[in-house]
Assembly symmetry: C2
Homo-oligomer: 446 residues x 2
């Protein structure tokens, strides 16, 4: 009896999600061809100024671990144990992220991570990577991708049994599906944009800010953040309104920019010698949330990562969610093999409501980071959360901990957090609970 030919997948996009999915598919014995618009990042440098740093946490790590890559990736990362808040007057306040020492998020360079994944994909022996080919369209019924060579303009077609659309927020694969009747779709831009800036390393590659922290300068309607890089530098990102007062549009001259930074981020200015150069060279990026449904077309096409559910970067979960997509999709493919349509449908059923919840969380965390991280009520609530978790470790788990340091599905985490707080509020209403809270409050100050 001849063995059945393994199914062939075309993966559109060799970014983080596409590369990891190729690894999963290649290891499962599928024949995989990945087509990517950009040049091979292992050969040519990518443009700077457009990549918000990544923080890999539990979902990402477990999805990498399932294909044996977690250790290698974590060796490239800098653990961040919490948020370091910078006040207007330069005072620092540190807020740990988790409830245990192991609760760190890992700052990693998108480029380095991508390269590691591409190397691992090739190592499976079943993955062929093709760079410099822009996806121009997809024939959904035949799983045929049309690609255009970005240098020569030459067109060709790539036929497979199925297509994975891992081509990001502006996915061409999804645009093809959008033409189907009854395709729900939403793109919502944040009124804030972002601009990347650099805090270079000090002498001998010294970190000029605490390295094991994500730095935040929360300023109400806007904020500056900074994540550490392995070379001692930090990548800083300003998030601020694109229009109106103190907006992108209002900072026109060098003097405008200098005055704004001196007033808003006085302790950061001395750390950014190339501020003006960065400012006028790096484009102002926009930020979009994308939701759609369905994520698949029969057994032919499936979307993952930003192509299916782009979220704002403020919960540090975009890449983690894309990695978790790869893990869940490969589990669904294995469980339903060889029925890909069932697998794709199950994947959507398992993930869609969770990535919807993540989209909401990511927006809410922006408001929290820019407005509340410095407020006393916020700090008190976070302290109360941790105190409750110490008292009832299995019963009360802070939302941030569930989202970042567990694989509890996002929607379930949100639901559970709501239930927990409802119980706390009920308890707090009883006089006996008042004493308990006081006790907790005292304990947590020790």
């Amino acid at each position: 009896m001849a063995a059945a030919r393994p199914a062939k997948f075309t993966v559109v996009g060799a970014g983080l999600g596409g590369a990891l999915m190729a690894i999963y598919l290649g290891r499962a014995g599928y024949e995989v061809e990945v087509h990517e618009r950009r040049a091979d990042p292992r050969v040519s440098q990518q443009d700077g100024g457009r990549s918000i740093n990544l923080a890999i946490s539990t979902r990402g790590i477990e999805s990498l671990a399932a294909v044996g890559l977690a250790d290698e990736i974590l060796r490239m990362a800098i653990p961040m144990r919490g948020r370091m808040m910078h006040s207007l007057h330069g005072e620092l306040a540190f807020q740990p992220y988790g409830t245990e020492a192991a609760h760190v998020i890992n700052s990693v360079s998108r480029a380095d991570l991508n390269i590691a994944l591409l190397n691992a994909a090739e190592k499976t022996g079943n993955v062929r990577l093709v760079f410099g080919k822009r996806c121009a369209g997809v024939d959904l019924d035949t799983a045929t991708v049309s690609v255009t060579d970005v240098d020569t303009g030459k067109k060709s077609t790539v036929r497979a049994d199925a297509v994975v659309g891992a081509d990001g927020a502006f996915s061409v694969v999804r645009q093809q599906m959008q033409r189907l009747d009854r395709f729900d779709y939403e793109q919502a831009y944040l009124e804030h944009g972002y601009k990347e800036l650099t805090i270079p390393a000090g002498p001998d590659g010294r970190f000029l800010l605490e390295r094991h922290a994500l730095h935040i300068w929360p300023r109400g309607g806007f904020m500056l953040i900074a994540l550490p890089n392995r070379d001692g530098s930090f990548t800083a990102t300003l998030f601020w309104p694109l229009e109106g007062e103190d907006s992108a549009a209002s900072l026109r001259t060098e003097a405008d920019v200098r005055r704004y930074f001196a007033e808003m981020f006085p302790d950061a200015v001395p750390l950014m010698p190339a501020l003006i150069e960065d400012w006028f060279r790096n484009p102002a990026g926009t930020l979009v949330t994308i939701r759609c449904r369905p994520w698949h077309y029969r057994d032919k096409v499936v979307l993952l990562g930003d192509a299916g559910h782009a979220v704002l970067p403020f919960y540090g979960q975009g890449a983690n969610a894309a990695f978790e997509d790869c893990l869940v999709l490969s589990e669904c493919l294995a469980a339903h093999a060889p029925d890909r349509e069932q697998a794709f449908a199950r994947f959507q059923a398992l993930r869609k409501r969770n990535t919807d919840a993540l989209a909401d969380l990511s927006l809410a965390n922006f408001v929290e980071m820019r407005d509340h991280t410095a407020s006393r009520t916020f700090l008190l609530a976070r302290r109360l959360e941790k105190g409750l978790h110490r008292l009832f470790p299995a019963r009360f788990v802070p939302l941030y901990t569930m989202v970042t340091f567990s694989r509890t599905p996002y929607a379930e985490a949100v639901e559970r957090a709501r239930r927990q707080w409802r119980i706390v509020k009920l308890a707090a209403a009883a006089p006996v609970a008042a004493g308990l809270s006081l006790l907790l409050w005292r304990r947590s100050r020790r």
Copy 2:
């Protein structure tokens, strides 16, 4: 001194919104060219089975009156004074729509209405209508529309000072704007579809159901409705789930359809001799809500009607809102002339939140019509509303009345209705109010 050349507008789409806007623009002295994909409806019959009947009410009437067309249109219409509910057992119950005798909505044929508007547009002397030209794209910066002749395939371009995108829910003009950065967009399909059916006139053009009513067969998850036509017939529309049990997909054979109708709409079956023919000939339509922002590009392009804000048909406000758009846009153009960019921006500022509110209302009314119109709580609440309005005519106005029989902006109507109910609930909480309610309840039963 030479008079300034009047600005030239290209209107894309000669449907209801496009035709009325052309009238407004033509009467204001602008030079207008309207390009429409379909053939001239005055020359060739349109396809049947895809046009949900229209009910014109106050917003539409006032927008027609402003250009002297209200009387002509109302003469073509059949006033509907309320809903006639048909129970499973064929019992009838009539619910008046309004609080006054003048509160009627007007059933009118979309085709007849469109023809009347096209004739009026030509009569302005400034409007040129071009049929059979499909909009293929728009150069936003130069207000240049590319059109393709649907018969010959010949392409040409139409240049103007500004473009009005009145080309419906699947607007090509809007699709062009969607490519701009920071364009917010959402399309959401209802899980229900629709199919048009016919209740023909009786002998001598007699109406076989009460003519001055909108008939509803509410059945929980789905419903049948029927609106009167001038020739004695009714156009019936079934709204029902596209998937699952009792869905479009589950009714495959003639016997399936007959059994379903006999069980669900027994009193309607004898009125629909062509049921089976209609069923298998008329396509199942889908229903979509569309929201987007911005509605304009500089002073070059503006969207109106379904192109900017397609809503579900369940509040009977889609065409009324499109007509009101025309009135408001022409007021903005007059107020800010010759600054079109300001006029377009003001139009969006005045309308966007209101059409967003209408989108929500239209979905909520679907749930109300199919699930609640037959329930006792619903009937009691409606009766209470009317009782409160009789007692406090200026203070308490039912939401339906504000939406349908006033030009109170939609969002304001929703907000006011919320406030009114809050006050009623507060009052009802006081014991004295209990007596009042009882009194009202008694009175309303008389």
